[in-house]
Chain length 347, copies 2
């Protein structure tokens, strides 16, 4: 009170108040303008109108509307997405499997013994039947051989080179062109509504971090995947992290809530998957208080993509489909819900 009786100080106070009023007017006008611009366009143009799109939009609307009983504060709007089969295709083989096969070929000159040792012999000969006969043990050996024994920087370079050149055997597209356009729109839509979007995938964390940021707009620290042990050491006077052949986390099935807890420490409110490997992540997500969303991409489009569920060895969707039906989770019917599959099909 005493302060305001000093004339100079009072004027400074008034000026500050005037500046503040004017600042608020500007801010209000800016928000009004931003809202009009955003409302003008459909945020999910590649989704056909119908129940699935409506369920997504209803959820986002209710958790972002101030005063709604389901309102969720922005810092708690955490959305997690599986990657293989949810954000990009996964047939006839997980794309990271193609990477491993190509790496075996690239690394073969340094490993003459591979010519006569399984699973490398079949992998090098392109003998998929022989490779399949080596089973899970063979697959793991291929992954270990191509995902360890180098620094994290060297591995990232290998992945980047592969991602920019390798092509899918059926579509002949670069693999990153086989991401799902409707899901890219969903990621943007959620982020525009204050959500933080994460990948929570069974795929290798270091594999995804090499290309995911540019393709999905998700930064490295929001990418959670399967992880190998790392060793810190000095090479030529500089510190490096060497990828070891031992597994630290299989981020699949019951490993997904574990991966989420380790990386985030909070329960997401929105999760999207496509297979039984996502069941526990979806269960974990909907088990919290308040409004929750669980979504499943059901591959029903044999013409434009692939059609598979209960009997597929890749992306098997069986128990999670039953649980989705029983609990009323949102199930995307790819054939009927999506106008286009890949970005290149957009008009």
């Amino acid at each position: 009170m005493q302060v305001s009786s000093v004339p100079g100080v009072a004027r400074a106070g008034e000026n500050r108040r005037h500046t503040r009023s004017w600042v608020w007017l500007c801010l209000l006008a800016l928000f009004a303008w931003a809202n009009v611009s955003l409302a003008a366009q459909d945020p999910l143009p590649s989704w056909n109108d119908g129940s699935t799109k409506q369920q997504i939009e209803n959820f986002v609307h209710k958790v972002t509307t101030t005063g709604s009983p389901d309102f969720v504060a922005p810092e708690k709007r955490i959305a997690v997405f599986d990657n293989d089969g949810t954000l990009w295709a996964e047939q006839p083989e997980y794309f990271e499997g193609f990477f491993a096969l190509d790496q075996v070929k690239a690394m073969a000159p340094q490993h003459p013994e591979w010519k006569t040792t399984e699973p490398f012999k079949s992998a090098l000969a392109g003998d998929m039947k022989g490779l399949a006969a080596t089973g899970e043990k063979g697959a793991l050996e291929l992954v270990v051989a191509t995902h360890s024994g180098m620094t994290t920087d060297e591995f990232a370079r290998n992945v980047n080179q592969w991602v920019s050149t390798a092509r899918h055997p059926k579509t002949h597209r670069v693999f990153t062109e086989m991401v799902y356009q409707p899901m890219l729109e969903l990621l943007h839509y959620l982020r525009d509504n204050g959500f933080k979007t994460y990948i929570v995938s069974g795929g290798g964390q270091d594999f995804m971090r090499a290309w995911v940021p540019a393709v999905y707009g998700i930064p490295p620290e929001q990418i959670v995947g399967s992880q190998g042990e790392l060793k810190y050491e000095m090479q030529n006077g500089a510190p490096v992290l060497v990828k070891l052949p031992t597994v630290a986390l299989v981020n699949d099935g019951p490993g997904k809530p574990v991966g989420i807890q380790r990386a985030l420490g909070v329960k997401p409110i929105f999760a999207f998957g496509n297979s039984d490997g996502d069941q526990q992540m979806l269960e974990w997500t909907v088990s919290g208080d308040g409004a929750r969303f669980a979504g499943i991409v059901h591959h029903t489009d044999a013409a434009r993509e692939w059609s598979y569920d209960r009997n597929s060895s890749i992306g098997k969707l069986d128990k999670a489909l039953d649980e989705a039906t029983a609990k009323g989770w949102t199930v995307v019917d790819m054939k009927n819900d999506w106008k286009v599959i890949y970005p290149a099909e957009k008009q």
Copy 2:
């Protein structure tokens, strides 16, 4: 070109352009106003003027100044902080050690066998000499007994209850009042300059996540610490994560760059620690391209806090101090660089 020849559309276009110019003017004015307001106050008021404060401010200035050769884009402004001895005190025992001792007492009624079994017998009797005699093995047993066998939610409740009631044996303050005021200011200063601040500590990740967000303003997903294995299971029809007695990551020494890689996937540009357990994190941080900052809190204030370094069993600072001197890292002299230690001492 054809579109603009339609009069109505042309007018709509002009209106939009006018709206945009006006919007830009508003934005520019807002930024100018914000800058003036911020420049008016010292962002590090609890730091004495001098070389240390200057080194911090110079670094922040050069990486945030557009056009500077050392400019770093906001998304790459990652700062990591050790916790024990860097952001809060750690004497005469790591505070999580006090938590473990108190938990043993709280859990003792459910464990009658502890009365006759070490290290629990000494812990329950308050016999610190007997406890010390059980060595690292005894300490690990105490941590395992108090940090596993319950769900992550139950553990968080235990920590929260302890944090809000337990008091330090010497200062008689609640432990969260023994955070360092100058470091709180540094965290704010960095965030105000577009940095993302992380904790990277040898302390338990779940222990820190229970109280760090409220005290340091750092969200759970930016808290990296030592981790135990977790198991996903159903309890009474609801999914839970049970804390297991096996260690997944010791986030200390060479484990710190590993923890950083797993959680972030990118190298920080700014790191602060206080002991040899931070040496590799500091080395890792400064090994990247461009401007880098490595800082060490040197405990030199026996009167207001504690004075210790090369010969301390808690927070030993020996090799990292030599490396700091050799490489010109910033070393905080707590006694001379800090006006106050704890928030309550602020005037």
